[in-house]
């Protein structure tokens, strides 16, 4: 069995409280004693049991990070950024995947409660109301969702969508397909909102769709049939699936249809044609989310991060 605080105490003839203080309040113990304790601890391979410590202090020094789908390349950079930021603050991040299922999401949050000091909720599929209820048990920071009074990290999707639409308009596109994401996605709503407000465009909405390659693949026929010369897709995965589906139908991108995605994930950069996309500041968002959780103590600060249009090869002039 692993050594406990008692073993260390016995080994160097002091009370457990002295050992405890050696680790959690070193200034309260005499340097000589302290080094004796440290030596004994090192000798026995003692490491404080974080779970036990959490029981009395209420702080676990862990945080949870819940994402809808780890397999979506958008998330890993965010996750890595959060983990490394947390590491710098002496925290650890536990990641869990909900499989896009709100029930799993809720269950996961419940499990995290009491095992972590807070949860980073990325692109949640739960309703605002539910999230607010769960927030009574554990502090949240939500990413890509706006909930009143709750700290959140937002990516400026509206701005990105605007840039994308302007880019398409500049290339002569008028009839544009909007391929949205899953129900309950804040991002999807933002996109649609901006598009609807932009004058002079002829929009066709498709959705809801799975936010994956498969989702894009399956709407490809409808998109092809609707007469749009350009597509704004929910995310890069959808865009990629769409291009795949389109080229299976011998429809060239960007020659016959232009496609823009969101996120700027790796496969989009490797794809032929390379994907034009709205880059989301995932790394920054991961970092900010951690900081917000640690600083705010649950108070509702909102951080909005800018997005940027990256023009590559999947968009071109509209054909007449």
């Amino acid at each position: 069995m692993a050594a406990t605080i008692k073993d260390v105490a016995r080994a160097c003839g002091v009370h457990v409280s002295t050992v405890s203080r050696t680790f959690s309040a070193p200034h309260l113990v005499n340097p000589a004693t302290r080094s004796r304790v440290l030596a004994a601890a090192d000798d026995l391979g003692y490491r404080p049991n974080r779970a036990a410590r959490a029981l009395t202090t209420g702080r676990t020094y862990n945080m949870g990070l819940i994402v809808a789908d780890i397999a979506n390349p958008f998330f890993p950079p965010l996750i890595k950024a959060a983990q490394s930021q947390a590491r710098g603050r002496d925290y650890h991040v536990f990641v869990a995947d909900t499989d896009e299922d709100p029930r799993v999401e809720e269950e996961l949050i419940r499990t995290f409660t009491k095992q972590v000091d807070g949860v980073l909720l990325c692109s949640p599929r739960l309703s605002n109301k539910m999230i607010e209820r769960l927030a009574e048990d554990v502090p949240f920071v939500v990413v890509n969702r706006r909930i009143k009074g709750m700290p959140s990290v937002l990516m400026n999707v509206a701005q990105g969508a605007k840039l994308a639409l302007e880019h398409l308009a500049g290339l002569g596109h008028r009839r544009i397909a909007l391929v949205s994401g899953p129900i309950g996605s804040w991002t999807s709503n933002e996109m649609q909102g901006v598009a609807a407000e932009t004058p002079g465009l002829d929009l066709i909405f498709f959705g809801p769709n799975q936010p994956t390659e498969a989702g894009g693949l399956s709407v490809a026929p409808e998109v092809a049939a609707c007469g749009a010369t350009a597509v704004l897709a929910y995310n890069d995965l959808v865009a990629l699936g769409l291009i795949e589906g389109l080229s299976a139908m011998e429809i060239g991108v960007p020659d016959q249809i232009s496609v823009i995605g969101f996120d700027d994930i790796l496969p989009g950069r490797l794809n032929r044609p390379k994907l034009t996309t709205v880059a989301m500041p995932a790394v920054q968002a991961g970092r900010m989310a951690v900081d917000l959780l640690l600083q705010s103590g649950g108070e509702g600060a909102t951080v909005t991060l800018d997005t940027a249009l990256i023009v590559r090869e999947s968009t071109g002039r509209a054909q007449k």
Copy 2:
């Protein structure tokens, strides 16, 4: 504050032990009492504190999953499979990323100790010796690494490499470049072993390399210069980077050089040319690893899973 077992006990006039038993040993409590307790618990929104429970029982019903790089698309399917398998066994999986850094890996394992019942170590970068030492504190299942006496899930890399080399030989390739992965990678060693034993081939080794797109990109010039007509890459990411680098040098794949990867990740399927690769059974591996951890209690069972060659567009006949 969240309700504790005491609140529930008080609310329905029984002792805490009765409440405890209602949840962890229901058959020991009178049905009438049980339902009273359940009602009160529900009323107060009581949920057992898993950390506190773990303190006495020694079981957390959590397991850790450590991967070298979540951003490598190879891992997410494995992670998802492990999570869903674990969920079916009433367990939860916490994922952490080491950034390919052995020190972070060790630190993470230490953090997990006592917070989980076991750790799934995927493609570890730590030395065998270190892993064995750490195994004294927490049970492991290692994936893609063979360590004596330790339960492990292996993917039959040797078989896959053999298939790949046969495929290349069949296409007339003789001079083949082997682009390996990071130091300490078992997979890399397996590949090299098989290649070295295959007669009639003229092999050139390149390595160690980062197991990423960047790694592939940076060896591209050397590979191009070495005169090989085909490349076996450590994984798909490296293969993709390589193709990218090669095409930047106006070298066509597969016309001038054939490339085979390992893993069968999504970007490889979307890439142009679509990547020929050795598919790794990541999903199966994730499931098996969970089962092994739960069943074996640390005993050293070894499971080997088959791989399969998937021929797509990045390989072709050798040019004379």
